[in-house]
């Protein structure tokens, strides 16, 4: 669904943000991009939407080279919730904000109405329907941008730091939404520093550092690679560290690190 072929990109100030990135994400995959600030994660996302075009190499989205496609064509396929929701909210009311893209994509009015109600309901924003998006809290704005994107049903959903400003309850709902999208066959790419959020939902993890991909694999494998994570300034999930420590002890039975807490609970003396 998304393919980067040896992509490099240099910002105007001379910083090389992507340095020979090759990466393939198949349809229906759920991928997390992790790595230190400035590793190139957001630049990579902007290449998928066509906001940035590679200096060398090529980016294909659903088989189409982003240099040959307009941003409008790509945005029908790829929905992105950027890190700072203020950059993408501009309407007078929350309802208007959600309707905007749907109308632009030519959905009939009754479909627009239905989907707006569905999205506001799903993300607990119903009470703000006629309010200005500007009065929402940071976390609510992030949920609104996500609702706007899901409403037009793109094939690829990209979320840049979606957990910022979200409390534990909202994070759990967000995790549920991501898993729902995955089971609906969507391709989901999440950029996040929030390792504790990512761990239980087990994405494929792509680790970036200095504009390069330095690690790529299932969460279980990558999150146990202490040296790789440390080199990219990414923390290990607490429970993985806990699990690894316990398993240094000879004779400890094998459990999946996801089950470490439950296993410890059952194995502890009353």
């Amino acid at each position: 669904m998304i393919e980067f072929r040896d992509v490099s990109f240099v910002h105007q100030n001379g910083v090389r943000a992507l340095d020979g990135v090759s990466l393939r994400v198949d349809a229906g995959e759920f991928v997390a991009l992790v790595g230190e600030n400035g590793a190139g994660k957001t630049t990579l996302v902007k290449h998928v939407t066509g906001l940035l075009k590679p200096a060398s190499g090529s980016v294909l989205v659903d088989g189409v080279d982003t240099r040959a496609a307009s941003t409008a064509q790509l945005s029908r396929k790829v929905g992105v919730a950027f890190q700072n929701p203020d950059h993408q909210l501009f309407s007078e009311t929350v309802e208007e904000e959600m309707s905007f893209a749907l109308r632009n994509f030519g959905f009939p009015p009754e479909v627009v109405r239905e989907r707006v109600s569905w999205g506001l309901e799903l993300f607990g924003l119903g009470e703000y329907r006629r309010s200005s998006p500007l009065i929402l809290s940071g976390g609510e704005k992030k949920r609104l941008t996500l609702a706007c994107i899901l409403a037009w049903d793109p094939q690829v959903v990209m979320l840049d730091e979606p957990t910022v400003g979200q409390d534990a309850i909202q994070k759990e709902k967000l995790a549920g939404t991501i898993l729902m999208l995955k089971s609906a066959g969507k391709t989901v790419v999440v950029v996040s520093h929030d390792i504790e959020f990512l761990w239980p939902i087990q994405p494929r993890v792509v680790v970036m550092k200095g504009g390069r991909v330095v690690g790529d694999g299932p969460a279980t494998a990558i999150m146990q690679d202490r040296d790789l994570l440390a080199s990219a300034r990414v923390a290990q999930p607490q429970l993985v560290e806990f699990y690894q420590e316990l398993h240094r002890r000879p004779g400890t039975p094998f459990v999946h690190p996801l089950d470490a807490a439950r296993w410890a609970e059952e194995a502890m003396l009353p």
Binding site: G165, D167, I195, E196, Q238, E241, Y243
Partner: protein, 283 residues
């Protein structure tokens, strides 16, 4: 020690809003404490903070009752100019508060507005750059910096005003885990060196539990829990109020329940220390 912040029975309702954003809120913070404010989104945290830095009632209309005292002065009868020198505010996204052409000019911006004499401005800017270890960035353009560096530039601008109270709104949310723990260590260091009081709004508690004196949880505009971080994390109600309990804290709580009779845990164990403690109790 004197209270740097006292919130006395504060209630506030925005115009056109059916319910109060903050209700009957009481809080006292002694000078030099690090206090974490948590709670679900929409719980009234931002409204409370606006009532502390004076945006409420000076910039927002609405129904206001009770009082907020910062360093002994009532916010509603203080002017914004005086408040800006007592209360510093670091926004969630540093891009919202850095905008000059060089880091140095950015850090000096607040002081320039107050008309601080040139030599003193120089000294305060240098001090802030030194405290945050960004002296080498002084001539750089802020938009060229990394997020972690921008965050430190914004914080330097706040500290140059020498506020007694600094409010940080989710300061680690845009930072990678390593940079985030460096920022938390910096907060502890500044408290130690300058005696600054910090109120930190944060959902991610794993980092802050180490350095915070107190955790206050809000829900529905009210204060619902208050105590040492460990007391709150071990409170069964905390999760229902949207507090993210660090994964290790849950295991540690189970361990503490099995050790009934022993004093409650004083601090959050690191994952490896927890593994050792659990190992000692395995069948």
């Amino acid at each position: 020690m004197a209270d740097i912040l006292r919130v006395e029975g504060l209630s506030f309702r925005y115009p056109d809003s059916p319910k109060s954003a903050v209700s009957d809120f009481e809080l006292s913070i002694p000078e030099g404490e690090i206090v974490v404010l948590a709670g679900p989104s929409g719980c009234g945290k931002s409204t409370l903070l606006r009532a502390v830095n004076g945006l409420i009632p000076h910039m927002y209309g609405g129904e206001y009752s009770g009082d907020v005292l910062v360093a002994g002065s009532s916010v509603k009868s203080s002017n914004m100019r005086d408040l800006a020198q007592t209360v510093g505010f670091l926004f969630q996204n540093p891009e919202n508060q850095i905008f000059m052409f060089s880091v140095e000019r950015d850090v000096a911006f607040g002081l320039e507005n107050l008309g601080v004499p040139r030599e003193e401005m120089r000294a305060r800017v240098d001090e802030a750059l030194r405290l945050l270890r960004i002296g080498d960035l002084a001539q750089r353009a802020p938009h060229e910096l990394s997020d972690g560096q921008k965050q430190r530039v914004a914080l330097a601008g706040v500290l140059a005003m020498r506020p007694k109270l600094v409010i940080l709104d989710e300061p680690t949310s845009l930072l990678d885990p390593k940079t985030a723990s460096e920022l938390v260590a910096l907060v502890a260091k500044l408290r130690g060196e300058l005696g600054t009081t910090f109120v930190v709004v944060e959902h991610r508690l794993d980092l802050l539990v180490e350095v915070a004196d107190r955790l206050v949880v809000m829900d529905g505009g009210r204060k619902v829990l208050e105590g040492t971080p460990m007391d709150v994390l071990f409170d069964n109600e905390a999760e229902a109020h949207g507090v993210a309990i660090p994964a290790v804290a849950k295991v540690q709580r189970l361990l503490a329940e099995r050790e009934a009779g022993k004093a409650a845990a004083a601090k959050l164990l690191t994952p490896s220390a927890l593994a050792l403690a659990v190992e000692g109790r395995l069948t």
